[in-house]
Symmetry: C2
Subunit: 530 residues, 2 copies
């Protein structure tokens, strides 16, 4: 069967000397799907880099804000027009539920992100234009000068897709072409999204090389790509192993790389909360752990509580939820295999299985809902190993002897995307909160109270980031517009540049009347020099 074409240099074309081929696997049957996709080698990469650089040069002279807005809005519409086939294909490739997950949650979220990115481009405030009229020095964020490489994860076929998701939207909105590498778990979904994107590119007047897609590469070709002098930056969401290899290559070349890697998302449940509403929290915990079959980067993988007269009942309640529900279908064979390995590591270091712990013997990829527990003292003896992420419906309860030990556990945490504290609705847990929160704050990107971390709202204040190794840099977020655009931007200063040569965003007159600019120390929508 013929290989599906790649999208390079403004055309769907045969991969040039592909180094192999692959197909997606239906997770519910473990059988390969019919379409064959190429594994690209260096020749496809070289063409894509040239076309990406060509697009950068074309963009410099284009009326890019208007074209970018048209593209982003148009792409959202093109996606909506393909809703049925997208959902159908994604179900086949990922086994995620069509409803509500794919059709009613993730697809609207994806188009919403694109439209928010369009608003950010139109508005321009994301550039943080800064004008000092006294010295006539001006600066703002601009594009990186090279295409952004986006490598998306397997667990969100739409919203984090390399050719349609949050990183894609942010990179494009900041004015950079994108070279997308599909996640090989859902190439068909990605192909349809890229067709939608390319249709929108053609209608927008943007350079045709603005959006490119390859499906897969051998690891060494991926390392070559992210360390190429001609790229602007890389965005990666996926495993820590792959992420760290890409980071090493990009770092060595001085190329920015933004990584979203592993996170165990600690949840501290204080004694007053368990006493007050333990049953409800047990239900919330299970619901959060089983969302997407536990394959969320914000899944609560470690739950810390104090051993007392209520904790045993709480554990039993959680166990009951884990046992009474069938586990979801995992994305691929790496799911059950990786979970089993992670659980083995946890067990080797003292964690005991409360329930689950085995791959489900069914025709689909699945692993039993699994709850483990370990005493706080034991955790403190092997904190690194006991933070091993199991990417599935698995959580580890850490039973501390007292609040001080809970704080000691917090102090041993590695960098995480989120950290959560449940406390009594009145002030019964305030002392404990004050002991734990300052320690936890520095370990996580987003600190939550009284709710599970799996929901990631796409709002300006969202922080979907965190200290290493959750990400590669603690100052950036992958979700939340306009902040997510800043990852794909360079700071452009202008010193004594003649007024008519300045980009419109830095000229005295506010170019659209509503762009927020930081002029002489104040944020304003007014013109400069007034």
């Amino acid at each position: 069967m013929a290989l599906q074409p790649v999208l390079i240099a403004g055309a769907w074309r045969h991969s040039k000397n592909p180094v192999g081929s692959f197909s997606a696997v239906n997770p519910t049957t473990k059988t390969p799907l019919p379409e064959q996709y190429p594994v690209s080698g260096l020749e496809d990469i070289e063409l894509a880099l040239q076309a990406g650089q060509g697009a950068v040069a074309e963009l410099r002279s284009a009326d890019s804000p208007a074209a970018l807005v048209q593209f982003l809005d148009g792409f959202a519409k093109q996606i909506e027009a393909r809703t049925d086939v997208l959902v159908e294909t994604a179900v086949l490739e990922t086994a995620l539920p069509a409803e509500p997950r794919l059709r009613s949650v993730e697809l609207p979220r994806t188009t919403n992100q694109l439209r928010q990115a369009a608003v950010a481009v139109r508005d321009g405030s994301w550039r943080r234009a800064t004008i000092d009229t006294g010295s006539n020095i001006r600066s703002m964020y601009g594009p990186l000068g090279g295409p952004v490489v986006v490598l998306g994860p397997n667990n969100f076929p739409f919203a984090f897709n390399s050719v349609a998701g949050g990183d894609f939207a942010a990179a494009i909105a900041a004015g950079n072409p994108v070279i997308a590498k599909a996640n090989p778990g859902h190439p068909g979904t990605t192909r349809i999204l890229a067709e939608a994107a390319f249709a929108a590119v053609q209608a927008s007047g943007l350079p045709l090389g603005m959006v490119q897609l390859i499906y897969h590469t051998p690891p060494e070709v991926g390392l070559n790509l992210v360390s190429e002098a001609r790229i602007g930056a890389t965005a990666f969401t996926g495993s820590k192993t792959a992420g760290l290899a890409l980071k090493a290559a990009a770092d060595k070349a001085g190329k920015p790389i933004y990584l979203e890697m592993s996170s165990v998302n600690p949840v501290f449940i204080l004694p007053g909360a368990i006493r007050e509403r333990g049953a409800a929290i047990a239900g919330e915990l299970y619901a959060s752990c089983s969302l997407g079959a536990g394959q969320f980067c914000t899944k609560p993988g470690i739950v810390i509580l104090q051993q007392d007269e209520n904790s045993e009942e709480f554990v039993t309640a959680v166990q009951s939820h884990f046992e009474q529900n069938a586990p979801g279908t995992l994305l691929n064979q790496a799911g059950p295999t990786g979970i089993a390995e992670a659980i083995a590591t946890l067990q080797e270091h003292g964690a005991e299985i409360v329930t689950g712990g085995y791959e489900v013997a069914e025709p689909r990829f699945a692993f039993a809902n699994t709850l483990l527990q370990v005493l706080g003292g034991r955790f403190l003896a092997h904190p690194h190993e006991l933070q091993t992420e199991a990417f599935g419906p698995v959580s580890l309860l850490v039973i501390a002897k007292d609040i001080t030990q809970m704080a000691e556990v917090a102090a041993q945490l590695e960098g995480n995307l989120t950290g959560t504290i449940y406390s009594h609705s009145q002030d019964a847990d305030d002392t404990a909160y004050a002991q734990i929160e300052p320690v936890l704050r520095g370990k996580v990107g987003r600190l939550l109270n009284d709710k599970m971390p799996t929901g990631v709202a796409v709002v300006p204040a969202m922080n979907h980031g965190g200290p290493f190794p959750a990400t590669g840099h603690p100052g950036f977020t992958a979700v939340g517009i306009p902040a997510s655009l800043l990852r794909f931007a360079a700071l452009h200063g202008y010193d004594n540049v003649r007024h008519h040569r300045l980009p419109p965003e830095l000229q005295d007159k506010n170019p659209n009347g509503r762009m927020w600019r930081f002029i002489d120390g104040s944020w304003t929508q007014e013109d400069a020099g007034k």
Copy 2:
């Protein structure tokens, strides 16, 4: 002679098992100065890390904004009280002129930076507090959770000093303790600044471990320090060789590192500008190249012009300035040695000496003012080697055959801090400008018109940064408050956190009535939820 004490863990104390000692050298006589300073090993580092982490923990519970403001303002006063001895010591150690450079320019700039940092802390707008009232998600920049390591350069003993300069001020203002490593070229100046800092710390109520100082380390100890899990980040200004080694170590550990490394600061002088005011530009070029004996990170190291009926006269005028003035004294023996090596590299690849090219035979460290030239075609054949930085009064003229070739030279430039275009005061050079500027824009942090790049104003819009290898990340600036603080900050998100538990900056009420916050999509100084 006894070794000078280091400042670690809140006290001036003997270095613990130093691995060596050193003294500064008077550049005007090439003779060592009397004071002996320790080379610290891992034991000093360990103590400093513990104390730095202790300071982080203490800060969490302190009323830190007020104490930080008191420290920064107090430190500026403490420096002013020591003006005479600082200038005297810096003259001995660096041979930079007391007037106007050290006393009337660099010292006031240093205290000004500290006071601007104090204003930024008091004001709080640097945190870019973002509040979404609908979702009750809030975020802002906060400290990194570990001390910041600052390694300062040799060429600005005050304004970029590791214990008093811009990086120091930014790291402290963002709420981080600092572990400063002196530049071994001016340990005495650094000691006095650290005494001033420590006096200010003691008067401020900040943790005593907020400011620490060691003087020197073997390279492997430095690499160990910047990759330590307990630090927050590193700021380095210095050579590319040292910077890349530190970057590799920090990157591997996932620790942010901000580097300001080499930059040749290309200056494009368009034909109309030479025709119109060539003699004046020749004078400006010499003045900029010889500032601080050419030891500025923004010195124009490459000047690109078009060969025509006026270019020869311009080169002669520049040559005349270079020949008629005595070269300044260089900071150390590495100065003339490094310059000679760089010039040899330039010559090997086709550059010819117009004037200079030799170390001055005097008791002081000095190298003749040196002008080189190379044809554009030759430059394009060896663009990498011909961008070798010579850190001294040296500049390379690139003589292009036409504007297209000037643009081709621009396309081959590596990342630089600055890029400059001189053009005719009317529109005679507009076509050439339009051809070169878009290419140059992406290669530099700060783009200038009609002025030399050596002045770096400390204003909010300043960008003293640029693409790799000028720095390690194109999105940050080392100069300009409040933007420079963002390097030493982590993004802290709060999701559904109870209102009274939020930091004051994220509560509904504006904590000081003047902090700019991004609330529901608009920048405002009002309270939230109004």
